[in-house]
Symmetry: C2
């Protein structure tokens, strides 16, 4: 495989997903760091070359002129895991795994990751009025996502059954640090047990 470089902010759970996927697969990954709170992913050079959407993570495949750039954390995980056991081969199971990855980006990340960013990185005293007003709805949305996950995990070791898939990696990234956004993981015992199972996977690496 061509050399892989992750354009990342190490505090980002979306970036961690890609590092965890690479680690579980034993793939080497260089990293290049940016500070999103200093606008380092909105520079003209970044927008022109790495991602016109001004966001990290971006997975770079190859170096120099012919390098390919892949934004969106879950798409980058898909690229890395292509053909591996982290993506089930069965038609329904594959679609069901993607179902949880889309759920993560639509119902989970905008609530749980955003509250963590606001509370632990921006700081509550620095929030705008609009952000402060949005807190209760994001808290309720995040708790609803965690409750749905908890119910689902009551009868399964991992999101798609007995074996870990990209759905677990995508959901683990911000779930296991949800307390940094003020969520109480102890309220969700099946989620807590699943977090321990992910920690125990061979090749597991922690978030920085």
């Amino acid at each position: 495989m061509a050399p892989l470089t992750l354009h990342e902010d190490p505090r980002s759970g979306n970036c961690y997903k890609i590092k965890l996927t690479a680690a579980l697969l034993g793939l080497p990954l260089e990293v290049r760091g940016y500070d999103i709170t200093k606008g380092e992913t909105r520079t003209p050079e970044f927008l022109a070359k790495v991602n016109a959407n001004g966001r990290i993570p971006v997975l770079q495949i190859g170096k120099g002129e012919g390098a390919l750039f892949l934004p969106e954390s879950n798409a980058a995980c898909w690229y890395l895991a292509h053909g591996s056991a982290l993506i089930p081969a069965d038609r329904f199971a594959q679609a069901d795994m993607l179902r949880w990855m889309f759920f993560e980006q639509y119902n989970h990340e905008p609530n749980i990751a955003t509250l963590r960013f606001w509370v632990s990185i921006v700081g509550e005293t620095n929030l705008s009025d609009d952000q402060r007003r949005a807190l209760p709805a994001k808290r309720a949305g995040g708790d609803a996502a965690l409750a749905l996950m908890d119910d689902h995990l009551a009868h399964r070791a991992f999101f798609c059954g007995d074996a870990v898939t990209l759905a677990d990696i995508a959901l683990f990234a911000y779930t296991h640090v949800a307390d940094e956004g003020g969520f109480t993981l102890g309220d969700y015992p099946h989620v807590t047990a699943w977090i321990a199972r992910v920690h125990a996977l061979p090749g597991f690496v922690p978030m920085q």
Copy 2:
């Protein structure tokens, strides 16, 4: 293939994605309608049997006891298109297609679809104060998504190159009716030309 049933609200672009995918592939699809503005996807029966997340669309595969239920529009499209030309086989192309589908759910749908729902279905006079305050940010986010799409389409017929993929279907659904949310599609000429190309696809069906 087992019989397919789409649990839908016909006004939803997320539901239309699945109908368009099925039509382009020539797959028969039964529909069962719900009115989301009347809470019909939050009944105990719907939550227990169809989707614990209380949302449509849900693709049902099979009937009776052994039926499988698949929420999340883009995951349902993936199931239908599995093994077809709507999903490129190349490793990078496949991940790049998913990149646009995750972009759609994260950056596009929450702005462009939500504004259409608020303006054309709920009605501006019925919005809550929180919704009214969120309008400018959603307008800016939607225009940023359309501008990014327009730049990307300046050099391509479809999102992943010369041929239509699920990325086009996912992004077409709410883009082609973005004017119903107050966006001006005429400001995005490459998007407008791409909309015409999608309309011209063999098997195309319009949104209701």
